[in-house]
Assembly symmetry: C2
Homo-oligomer: 234 residues x 2
């Protein structure tokens, strides 16, 4: 957009997605934050794990490109997707590559496409050395989600339509990486006026717990400046 | 970063910056949010006003490119600069262009480089039709700054080192576009524990007002994932 110079052909544009979900070893255990990674089968960084992604097509908008490359590499369809950051340091790849990174959420117990090889879930806080600057990107995405969970209803992206306050608290605890006092949590959530209590209850071995849903009138999160953003919360 | 396709040469990468400042017609009047625009001297959109920016060089990191193109087109050096968003819709420019947009602040009474033609300050909320999607970009930047001023000390980017609570409130009022109750504002700011009172006072026609400074230990704002970010608050 400068008026005097020409653009360079030497810069390539890719999209990648950090997509978080929750996993627990067995029912009743604390959930961990996990994300899918794809093993690289060619250089650079052959054999290392990397974020799902791919090159941007010239005729493709950014958010659809993030969804497409995510689906192609993992089979996942996120419940929430927004732009994280454009990473463009000159040293991050042998060929100059701008990666426009999205972050996304997918609900617990979503499975990867079984026909795909070289893709697996990893614990977000104990990652191996990833390709390129992808460790930094995951760290930043974790930082963003931990900040954002405090002032938006993004936890919804990890929950079913109806959930108990204990289930909501577990999502917060997994994202924040620490335990929360149940009574304080209940008070804060009730004060936030973002939840609507239903007349349904979760029954089981414990005493019945009321089910809640999110108030759809409350903004989910900043999903970017584009009003026609295609991936609203499902 | 896909492993099977090749990147396209048809995508160009530009950087642009939305840089806000405050202006008032005369002392004592409310401040308005203004930003500098550059008049285009060639197609597309010849004669229309556009955000300061330019093409990214292949050997240049993103943030330095934002600073460079801002300086080349306006002569301005911001007190604060962070990435806003990557705009990449296919229809936003005749040639496919990804614009990585930064937003910045510069203190009141900063002047544009006098030798530059085709650059001028505009009121941020009453803009003419700009080139490309730049109206949308400015609207999004305003939305971001209004949100962010509530939970970060970005107002500092528009203030001198020492300032009165009334001066701080005026910055908030200008950014938010509404007046704030002085007593409530004072209480909220004091509760936030981000300001340090000094023993200095602003004297003049009114009664002396204590001068404050920001606590430098409090994080300014999310300046992105890069720890070596070059443009800390000056």
């Amino acid at each position: 957009m400068t008026q005097t110079d020409s653009p360079t052909d030497e810069i390539r544009v890719a999209v990648s997605t950090v997509i978080f979900s929750l996993r627990r070893e067995r029912a009743g255990e604390p959930a961990r934050v996990v994300l899918p990674l794809v093993r690289r089968t060619r250089d650079p960084h052959e054999g290392q794990w990397a974020l799902p992604g791919g090159w941007l097509n010239a005729t493709e908008n950014l958010e659809p490109a993030a969804s497409r490359t995510l689906a192609e590499t993992t089979g996942l369809v996120p419940s929430f997707l927004e732009q994280l950051y454009a990473f463009g340091d000159t040293g991050r790849s042998p060929a100059r590559t701008i990666s426009i990174v999205y972050w996304a959420l997918v609900r617990e117990d979503t499975t990867l496409a079984t026909e795909l090889e070289n893709v697996a879930w990893f614990d977000a806080v104990t990652l191996p050395q990833l390709a390129f600057d992808h460790n930094d990107i995951v760290d930043y995405a974790l930082w963003r989600v931990r900040n954002k969970v405090g002032y938006s209803r993004i936890a919804h992206g990890l929950l079913p339509e109806l959930f108990t306050l204990a289930e909501l608290r577990e999502v917060y605890e997994a994202l924040l990486g620490r335990t929360l006092d149940p009574a304080n949590f209940r008070r804060q959530v009730e004060n936030s006026e973002t939840l609507i209590p239903t007349e349904d209850f979760r029954t089981g071995p414990h005493r019945p717990a009321r089910l809640y849903r999110y108030d759809q009138d409350v903004e989910l999160a900043d999903r970017g400046p584009l009003p026609h953003s295609s991936l609203a919360l499902r």
